[in-house]
């Protein structure tokens, strides 16, 4: 059916309306004489609409006289009519052809490279590895190497990757990678060190693997106190230094406080907005505006990139980047005392979490709060954890010269 439509379009056809009394006879005689009628519409009081090819149209006239029907051309369709229409506008046709050729040629090059991944540092090293595969802006697509070769180059030139692939989507190269899990670091025992307390605490347990333990269970330690010494006294009166290793767990207390308001600011859109568009052509951007000054006092920004593509993901390298500024009015909404305390508690807990060592265990938590003025509440969070408090401090050996 689709091929039929293409065939009719190429040959050209006219849509005609037949009116009169002997329409059925007209149709039948046409069929008998080999005049192909297609797209025959429903018969109404006004007549019937049918499609007929250009060559057959002139053969219809005798039938029309014989049956006494009337024929009116409604529309001329197809390529012959289009060519006739554009014959006088040759420059337009040439322009269209040039654009088509330019599109075809430009679609053979890579115009943007996208690295898909959350880790910025790793993405940068992947990007530099991708350049070594020959995938860069302006690269000729047919000259690119095979996917497997690109994969091995990326993997060999980037640490901590388990998989990578370059997808060529039209004029866009999309690089996807999978980050590997790093093996635990090898403990560098080449230098002597002590293990000292990172913060104040009450010792819960000490597991010493190398060095001499200086604290016992239930001892109170302050920040900087020696926990496991890397200096070991020898029986001959001398000493030797080692790289102290061990896990020291202690109760620690973290306290944070902050002042929180009993209201929150809400952005309500006013409906006014300004859009600034940038035309993106093969990685070059052309602003479609003169000045992007925004005279809104408060606003939100949203960005959108619409790229032209054929099919699912054959990008042509042409797109419109749209930046929308939406004006908002800031309204102050009062919140309850409890909600303000809850907000403060969550905020302070997040701050404390950033200070903790990995693997810390919460044992106790206290939240206190008080009103400071009509719209401010002071929240204090105290949390007790069992956490590793030891940290390595290198021993700097002082070569004391013998006094003479």
């Amino acid at each position: 059916m689709f091929l039929n439509k293409i065939f009719h379009f190429v040959k050209g056809y006219v849509i005609i309306k037949i009116t009169g009394f002997y329409i059925e006879r007209f149709l039948y005689i046409c069929a008998r004489r080999g005049i192909r009628l297609f797209g025959i519409g429903k018969k109404t009081q006004d007549g019937v609409v049918v499609c007929i090819s250009i060559s057959d149209f002139y053969r219809v006239m005798p039938v029309r006289y014989k049956t006494g029907t009337h024929i009116r051309i409604i529309q001329k369709c197809g390529l012959p009519f289009l060519i006739k229409q554009f014959r006088k506008r040759s420059f337009l046709v040439i322009g269209l052809l040039l654009v088509a050729i330019a599109m075809f040629v430009s679609s053979n090059f890579i115009w943007s490279v996208e690295i898909m991944g959350d880790n910025d540092e790793l993405s940068r090293s992947v990007a530099s590895a991708v350049k070594k595969t020959g995938v860069h802006i302006g690269a000729f697509k047919p000259s690119l190497m095979e996917g497997e070769s690109m994969k091995s180059i990326i993997l060999n030139n980037t640490d901590n990757l388990v998989w990578a692939w370059v997808y060529i989507k039209g004029t866009k190269a999309v690089v996807e990678y999978k980050e590997g899990i790093l093996p635990p670091k090898v403990v560098d025992k080449s230098f002597p060190c002590d293990i000292v307390a990172r913060r104040d605490g009450l010792i819960v347990s000490v597991v010493e693997k190398s060095g001499r333990t200086r604290v016992l269970k239930n001892d109170t330690v302050a920040k900087g106190d020696l926990l496991i010494a890397g200096t070991i006294d020898m029986t001959d009166g001398g000493y030797k230094t080692v790289h102290a290793i061990g896990d020291v767990y202690a109760y620690t207390w973290h306290e944070k406080s902050g002042e929180y308001k009993m209201y929150e600011d809400i952005n309500i859109p006013t409906g006014r907005e300004k859009k600034y568009r940038t035309f993106k052509l093969f990685s070059k951007c052309f602003d479609l505006f003169f000045k992007d000054n925004v005279d809104f006092e408060n606003y939100t920004i949203s960005e959108k990139l619409s790229e032209m593509k054929i099919g699912e993901d054959n990008y042509l390298g042409i797109g419109i980047y749209e930046k929308t500024y939406r004006e908002v009015s800031v309204e102050r909404k009062p919140i309850s005392y409890d909600l303000a305390v809850e907000k403060g508690r969550n905020d302070l807990e997040e701050k404390i979490a950033k200070e903790l060592a990995c693997g810390s265990r919460l044992t106790d938590k206290k939240v206190s709060h008080e009103m400071i003025d009509d719209e401010t509440v002071k929240v204090t969070v105290t949390m007790e954890f069992i956490e590793k408090i030891g940290e390595e401090i290198p021993i700097i050996e002082q070569n004391t010269a013998p006094e003479e």
């Binding site: 149709l27 025959i40 109404t44």
Partner: protein
Amino acid sequence: MSNIREKIAEITEFPKDVVMDLPRIVIVGNRELQIENYKGLLEYSQDIIRVAVNNKQIIITGVDLCINRMESDTLFIGGRIMSIEFCSKNKR
């Protein structure tokens, strides 16, 4: 005459529509109807289409009936077909 042709068709095992000049009708659900070897179009409207075949006429009734394509020996009818009836040539 038709009896002789029928007997010839039975003896020779030739298709009856060829030997007896009968219409061949193909119907797809109640949506499409194809009539081969028709002799003329007698009436065409959205509710009824009358087609002349050898010594008889076929009356097709339905809703939104239309002729999709018309060739010299085949007629393609679309729409919601309600009934197909064979009548003598002089009816209506």
